[in-house]
Symmetry: C2
Subunit: 485 residues, 2 copies
């Protein structure tokens, strides 16, 4: 192993890259390493792989991309209305996944948009909303990802919803995410009943302003500094959470960190929280503490900061986004800019709530696969063996899954140590070429939305991207590679 | 395997006993099962083992003892001064472990008693306290265990300290424990400086009364019911805690459950908390949230309720207490009543704080081994692989330790499932005969106190009981067995 004499050395920038990823840059090694993809009758894929492997920029580009991903920090710096934070105008709705229109939108995406129209006062009821949404040009739909934002499940963000604002002190990036509503009949799973809209109103009138007071207080002069979301993620991986479908410990740590300032709010807060009472604080604390998934909406933008830091490194095949809109699954890759590589979303398999079954589940939906893109969630299932009681599988599967993900990733994240693997770092930085070479698809843990608008959550389970998005990305990467010398 | 035809069947009372523990009752099986203890030149131990194995009450007695241990619940029903809760009079001090006097007390035990004398206003300073404590008859020292109480490390409880009060809704037992002070320079590790005493005064004036308000509020009519400590222990084992040296998730869950009532206290509390303010609540919440061990003092009395429920079953060799006073290590066994079987405490080995080293550590001290007696702590290390960064060892050791403990315990606790072992129940109910037969000693995780009074904590590590306490208990059990037919 090791580099051939006379070959240029790779700058790894403190990143623990796999030996084989370093060896890739030597053309001699490629022949040894490479196995022909199963389905490549005309040899086009083999040619694309060879072209990418031969790209002299590749090893350093991947090291740069992954190095930036691992170095990014994530601090919770504000909570405010999406209209203000993201400059969203009335009538614009962000959504999860790659771009989509009403025509092709699935049930839960439609349901969430209908509920958001009612919440914004743009429609009198869900049927009215559906009529307007079906009218071309009546509203604007744009992916969260196009606004440095992420949203779980349908991921709908409208101007009056409040969002978490996170900052990366290393690279300077910002990322946003909605506040988590809890489980069951909630907007992000496509429910739109009056209780759903009422809860959103309370979140904008009480929860958001209280969190804003607490977050600004913690981040202000003389306080302990903004909540370090990355540090909480590191801790939660030692506490049985994988950061996607288990966020129990993370939620409790967030609550602990914000508590003193929350308690201080009545009588002391200014601005939107000025009028709020002890009873409002008690209800907010009960709401957050009673929702094990509350912290997911902070893990996601933290992962968005990590993956955004890795964008736009020419020659790099590192995946920087995986996102689903309930119809399509799309990925973006560092070396190919803002292009989406898209295929039909698979339907998750797992455990169902109540009487629901496989026929009730919508295809995969949500920006939450940003967690796997950053090395946690399904990639770090070994840290969260109890998750199998929520998404299916057994503990051996959870351990094997994490071990398998090391085969398609470029680095191990020392900040995200997995205790049961003797503190090995989370497998991080999906390599498009490794996915194509090995046929191993990224493992995603996910919630399952009902396929009919208005239903809400029906379960939780396991899913993978459609295999074809990785060859598509590889071809694009190959086209951008310099011609062979 | 299995029972011989015609043998009486054992009533297991819903308890999943090991096949070999059932097989023990058949005398024929004993000869197969039994290995001679390593150090038994005169055959006395072999004779005692044979006598106990031949006791026809044994299998059912152990099943009863362990069945009661597993069935016991643990609800947090009150917080109040020890004088009131335990009827402690001024000048009486409870301490950890079996009985001990000032003469034989170790440094940290002496330091804690000195600090408690100052805290109670019975001495002007620690030197004055030492003089009084050395005067025979000046104060009364009694084990916590003799008052249905437990205390971590020195375990000193004096009348003005506030205690948690837990109730077992199944067997009707009660158990008490002091409030946790945090780490470092704290009374229970033998520190007695003014800051230590000042903190104890704040705990009695503010923290105790606030917790009392919150606990009574939660337990009162119309509320959710008392905090279910057993349920939190079940959860924490899924969140990387083992309940002895890791109590992070447990502490956060307790905080979550008490929060709404804590927030409600200013202006609404009556009694001792009537005058307390929002700032007091914020400080209390910061204190609890900043002390990862706070919940230990609730795990311990919960385990005390479990093990007390298993006491006094004639013929049972199940251990119902393991406790250390810093000089002696004592155990009590279900079938031998309140007798202590005592040997010299070992000194833990592990990881040291700052510049401290092995020479600074006192021998094993504290009632906290009640956690191992009830199947968690060192027995459930597999649930908490990250603990090895605190007590030493590696993850393989943690997993192997839990697996080894199944060899000396009578049951697996379905309420305390260990995810990484595919949700196998915690190894519970130490069997004196199994310890003697196998030579496997119970594994205890523990804090390490400085051996000099006043120092405080010097580290955390691993320790076992002195081997001789188990043969001593076995002989006593044999003497109580009916003569062979």
């Amino acid at each position: 192993m090791g580099l051939l004499d006379g070959e240029p050395r790779v700058v790894t920038a403190g990143v623990s890259l796999f030996a084989d990823s370093l060896a890739d840059q030597a053309v001699d090694t490629v022949r040894v390493d490479w196995r022909p993809p199963a389905d490549d009758p005309d040899g086009r894929l083999a040619a694309a792989l060879a072209r990418v492997f031969a790209d002299p920029r590749r090893a350093e580009a991947d090291a740069t991309a992954v190095g930036r991903m691992l170095a990014a920090g994530a601090r919770l710096v504000d909570v405010r209305p999406a209209g203000e934070a993201l400059g969203l105008e009335r009538g614009t709705f962000l959504h999860a996944g790659p771009p989509i229109d009403w025509e092709r939108a699935s049930g839960p995406m439609r349901g969430a948009l209908q509920g958001a129209m009612v919440f914004e006062g743009l429609a009198s009821d869900p049927d009215d909303a559906a009529r307007q949404l079906a009218t071309p040009g009546a509203v604007r739909l744009e992916p969260c990802h196009h606004h440095a934002a992420v949203g779980p499940m349908a991921g709908v963000i409208s101007p009056s919803m409040w969002v978490f604002e996170l900052a990366d002190p290393v690279g300077g990036g910002r990322a946003w995410c909605s506040l988590n509503e809890g489980l069951g009949k909630v907007l992000r799973y496509g429910a739109y009943s009056p209780e759903v809209v009422e809860r959103l109103r309370w979140m904008s009138a009480v929860l958001g302003p209280l969190l804003q007071h607490a977050v600004r207080d913690a981040a202000g002069p003389g306080a302990g500094g903004p909540v370090d979301v990355k540090a909480i993620i590191a801790q939660m991986l030692q506490m049985g959470d994988e950061g996607h479908n288990r966020n129990r410990a993370g939620t409790l740590m967030l609550l602990r960190d914000l508590l003193p300032a929350l308690i201080d709010a009545p009588g002391n807060a200014t601005g939107a929280a000025a009028h709020l009472t002890q009873a409002d604080v008690a209800r907010a604390v009960r709401f957050v503490g009673g929702n094990d998934h509350f912290f997911l909406n902070l893990v996601m933008p933290a992962c968005k900061l990590m993956t955004d830091a890795a964008r736009d490194v020419p020659g790099s095949g590192v995946v920087v986004a995986m996102a689903r809109n309930g119809t399509d699954f799309g990925i973006q890759v560092s070396g190919t800019g803002d292009r989406w590589f898209i295929g039909p979303a698979n339907t998750p398999q797992g455990l169902y709530l109540g009487d629901y079954g496989p026929d009730d589940a919508n295809p995969d939906i949500g920006d939450s696969a940003i967690t796997e893109t950053a090395g946690i969630g399904g990639f770090s299932m070994a840290a969260a063996p109890a998750i199998v009681r929520f998404v299916g599988g057994d503990v051996a599967f959870a351990l094997a899954t994490t071990r398998r993900m090391y085969e398609i990733t470029r680095a191990e994240n020392p900040a995200f140590a997995i205790p049961v693997l003797e503190f090995r770092g989370a497998p991080t930085g999906i390599d498009v070429t490794a996915v194509v070479r090995t046929g191993i698809l990224p493992q995603i843990n996910t919630g399952m939305a009902g396929r009919v608008a208005g239903v809400g959550q029906v379960g939780a389970g396991l899913v993978t991207p459609p295999a074809e998005v990785f060859p598509a990305a590889l071809h694009a990467l190959a086209e951008l590679a310099p011609p062979p010398a």
